[in-house]
Structures are given as C-alpha cells and as structure tokens.
C-alpha cells in the first residue's frame, strides 16, 4: 500500500511544494494552525522542524527560529502532544519531521519513532544521521513504525551512493541545490546547478526528487521544480513569519505567493 508521500507524488506528479517550518515558532502553539493553513493554501508536503541548539546544516534564519522556539518551551514531548490532533484536522498531507539526532537520542529513538508513527508522521529527515549509522542502527526501527527516511544528495554525492539511498526509501530524495547551509543564495556559475539537477534526473531513480536550500520565491521555486518533481522552501517561509501577529494568515499569503 502506498504511503501518503507516494500518494501525494502520484496525485500531482510535478511542481510539488514542500514547506518547512520550525515547531514552536513564532509562538509555541502555532504548530497545528500552521499545518492547517499551509495545507489549505496548497502546500503538498509539510516538514516540521524540531528545534535544536546547534543546527549544523542550517543557516542563520533557521538557527534563529530554533532559538526562539526553544525559548518558547518547545521540545519533543510538547511537539508530540500537539501532534496528537493533527490527523483529525489534516488527514492526507504528508508530514515529515526534520531535525538533529541528539534530542532524539535523549528522547530515545524507538520511543521517538513510535510517537511519530502514532501522530501520523510519514517520514523523517535527520541530516546528521549518516547512511552507515542508519543502516546498522536504525533501519529496523524505522521499518517497524513505517517511517520513511529522506536522504540528502549534494553535487558531490557519488552516483553509486545515490543509487543506494534510492533503494532505502519510499519517499523522495532531497537534492541540496548547491554548496551551503539552508537559506543561502545560489552563488554558482550559470548552468552548473542545472547540469547537476539534470545529471540526477538522468539517473532514472525509483523515487521522486525535491530540490531544497536557497529556494525562496515563485521564480526560484518554478526554476527548481522544472528540474525535479518539486521544491522545498524553509528559510524564506520562516522570514515571512517574523513579527507577524497572525502566523496562519501569513502562511496562506506566503504559499499563495509561490503557487499563484
């Protein structure tokens, strides 16, 4: 039986929009209202960031939102409590949890996967969980709870490694657009990025591909989506939530500015 992520790709095929936000930002209890608003406005997948004090793969915007979320009192216990009601309100949109390993290790990996599965989460993006550790330590637990791992691919990732990642998931592959952390500008020479996207497209992988890092507006979304099945927006969305009195309304405006 296909999972929600596969169903979303099967239904839409291309131009899928995956939006990231940091749980607990801008306010502790914005999580569910933001997921509802993003879904209503047309986001195809939603990545819920689990804030961490030292997010190595993230740029300043997501680090700052994480600091605010932690100061607001966000943690995994609070998050899973909030997510108890999410599937009653948003039954179909694929939900992924994104975050770093250390808070999960303190919570307990099996307990974490069980809580995620019970909340109706479909996939996990854990950038500092390396492939070898995943396969040797955690794959069995992910499978037990039917959670899909999402692996990151960069321009430097070797083809055989990409093919191997492709066999380990039934979700999508996350193409990091170029060198840098989240929210950075594309500084690559013209054509370099396209050549990389096309090289991966030509591999005819089993899983669909989403492009992320440095995608922030309609133009960059459309450009990225044209080389894959869609794209991921994070930092630009976090910026749109800054200083807003009404986060759900800002979320709807933001998604609409990308899709319409």
């Amino acid at each position: 039986m296909p999972n929600r992520i596969q169903e979303a790709f099967a239904k839409k095929g291309q131009n899928l929009l995956n939006v990231y936000f940091t749980a607990g930002y801008p306010k502790l209890h914005d999580t569910i209202p933001l997921i509802e608003a993003l879904t209503e406005a047309g986001a195809d997948l939603i990545e819920i960031g689990m804030p961490f004090s030292d997010p190595l793969a993230d740029g300043p915007v997501i680090q700052q939102s994480s600091s605010v979320a932690l100061a607001n009192g966000m943690n995994l216990y609070v998050l899973f409590e909030q997510l108890q009601e999410v599937r009653a309100k948003v039954p179909d949109t694929p939900l992924l949890l994104m975050g770093y390993l250390n808070p999960i290790m303190q919570f307990g990996m099996e307990k974490f996967c069980q809580a995620a599965a019970e909340a109706g989460v479909d996939g996990l993006i854990l950038p500092d969980l390396p492939l070898v550790e995943y396969e040797e330590e955690y794959q069995a637990i992910f499978k037990k709870y039917n959670l899909q791992p999402v692996f990151l691919i960069t321009p430097q990732t070797a083809p055989e490694r990409i093919r191997h990642m492709d066999t380990l998931t039934d979700a999508f592959l996350y193409l990091v657009s170029g060198p840098g952390t989240t929210g950075g500008a594309n500084t690559q020479a013209e054509g370099v990025q396209e050549a990389y996207f096309e090289r991966i497209a030509d591999m005819k992988l089993r899983n669909p591909r989403l492009i992320g890092f440095g995608i922030g507006d309609k133009a960059s979304f459309q450009r990225a989506a044209s080389h894959a099945h869609g794209a991921i927006i994070g930092s630009a969305f976090i910026r749109a939530l800054e200083d807003t009195p009404d986060a759900p309304a800002a979320a709807k405006r933001f998604v609409s500015s990308i899709l319409n």
């Binding site: 692996f151 430097q156 060198p179």
Partner: protein
Amino acid sequence: MSTSTTSAFQPNARGYYGEFGGAFIPEMLYPNVEELREQYLQILAEPEFQAEYQLLLRDYVGRPTPLFEAKRLSARYNTRIYLKREDLCHTGAHKVNNTVGQILLAKRLGKTRIIAETGAGQHGVATATVCALMGLECIVYMGKTDTERQKPNVERMRLLGAKVVAVTSGSQTLKDATNEAIRDWISNPVDTHYIIGSVVGPHPYPDLVARLQSVISEEMRKQLLEKVGRELPDYVVACVGGGSNAAGAFYHFLDEPSVQLVAVEAAGHGIHSGHSAATSVLGTPGIIHGSRTLLMQDEHGQITEPYSISAGLDYPGIGPLHAYLGSSGRARFISIEDEDALTAVAECSRLEGIIPALETAHALAALGQLGAGPEDVVVINLSGRGDKDLETYMKYADKLK
C-alpha cells in the same frame, strides 16, 4: 608520531572507541570527511611526509621540548615532579604540533584554503602560523565574546595574515565558532581543509589529532629513560577541554596499565554551581560536532553552555577517546575550580619561574589530589604558557599573592 593500530585504545574502522566516536555528519560533509578517512593513515605513514613533519617539528616548532625536573614543586608535594615543556613550542602551546601536521596533510590533499575554530585563540594562532608558513589562505572562526576577551590573539592572527571571523550565533563562544567553521566547510566542499584543534569532531579527526599530538608522550618516554632510568612514570597529568594535549601526553602510555593517567577538567565555580565545564561528571552521552561522546546538555538534548575561567577549557564536550578512557576506568578524572587554578598559577610561577596558561594551571592544581608518594614519578604536561592570560592574572592579582 604513532602509526601503530594495535592498541585497545585505537578507534575501530567506523571511528569508535567503545561506544564513543563515529562520524555524525550531514551528507554535505561526507565527501570531505571520507576523503580524509581514506587517506590520513597512508599519508601520515609516507616517508616524505614524515621527513617534512619531523624537520618542521625540530626546526620550526623547537622540538623535542624539554622534560624539566621541578625540584621545588617536588619538595612542596613530596613526590618527583617533571614538567613536559610544551609551553616552549613555537606560538606558546602544544597546539602547533597538530597544525603543522594537518597543513602538510592539507597540501597533500590539494587543498588551498584553510579554516579553523578557536576559543582562547591558541589554536587559531597556531593555524594562522602554519598557513603563513605555507602561503595558504586562512580563515579562523572565533566567538564574538572570545574575540573581546582574547584581543591579543586576534591581533596575532591578523598580523599573520589570517581573516578572523567573529561569530555572533548562539552563545558566541567556542561551540558556536565550531558550528560556523563546519558551516563554512559545508559551503566550500572542494578546496577547503578544516583544521580541527582538538581530539573532537567526526572520525577521523579525534584519531588524526591524537596521532599528531602523540609526539609529546613519545618524547616523554625517551626523556624519562634518560633522567630517571625508566620509560614509564607513575602518573601522567594533563588538562582536558576537548582533550588534545591530554591525548598526546597519554598516547604512548595507554597500553601501560602501571601508568596512572589523570585528566583534569575545569570545575569553574564548582561542579554543581551551574557554572562548570566538568563534562566527565556533568555530561551524558550524545552527539556534538559529529561525534558521539559525553557532552553537557539538558534533559531534551539541547547543548548547554559550559563555564570556566579558562577559555580553552570551556567546551561542552570531550573527545570520544577521553569519554572512553573515563568510562572504561583507564583514566582518572579530577575537576579543579577557578580559584584553585589561579592558586596553581601563582605556585608554579613562584616555585619554578614558569608562568603557566590558565588551562595548564588546572593540571598543576591537581597535584595535591594525586596521592603520589615520595618515590613516584609524576609528569605534568605543561601544555601552554601564561602570556595570553596576563589580563586575567592582572584582574585576579589579589588571588595570586
């Protein structure tokens, strides 16, 4: 430098010392770290590398550093104390042993751009120094708080041609400087080598840095044989922040169970004061900077900010080797409070005419707790000199009387 791989205290193929170590890095860093992992042992063993490294250690760093019999300190503690004078290395601390080795490694990997993190600035200066020597671009990440409290080292790095980036994210200290250096490496995946300054970070860094620092204990064994007629002391004592000088001082004694290894951490205002850096006591297993080790964190796995009067010891983790040495009982951990470290600064200065760095003073302050007898030979790794801490020593002049 060691090229042996037979010890029980060597990491396994995935970089684990027991349950500690590994390489928990995002995919963006995988090619760089993997390249290093595949090549470091081979490059370190090459005769040309060894020739160049040994020559620089001798003529540039000033090795071997003396092993000095500290007679007045010995009389004070009624035991036989020897000081391994790493403070006499070029740039004033042991840090340069590692940067000389890593810059040669970086050149062999074809890298043209060097990045580093620094807390007190000693590793930053040691990195800027070798980059100047080799004509390579150098960028040093330093927490903004640290740039303010260690101004002379900032100026030294600039004078050596390095670019110093003041890090304003997070707590603006060593932990955040390390985060920013890692982010730089993610953004520059092809031409850049990251010279980590301690036995921390993803495999193979803890092992690479330990091997490059192991010259300290290699020399100790030879010098002890000459001076006391036996290669093995009864105690080796070193301070631990991340743990690079301790790793180097312990390295060739790891498999000698008669040698007591003593790692000295900074207790700050007191272990349970909430202002401490005693990771072996306060830390729990987790992941920091790509390594599974002991680290200071809250119940939710958020990394907490350590405190020590010494900028070189206020790191919230320890290297995975040290986590293993502690948990396996091979090394004994002692923690020393700020005040006792300051007392040790005064004592070593007055009794031996040697002004130690604040970090090193923690190791000296442990002398009273060792339980060493009159015939025991105690080697203290005198990891750095105190010039950089003069401002702190002036501030606490009343405590140094």
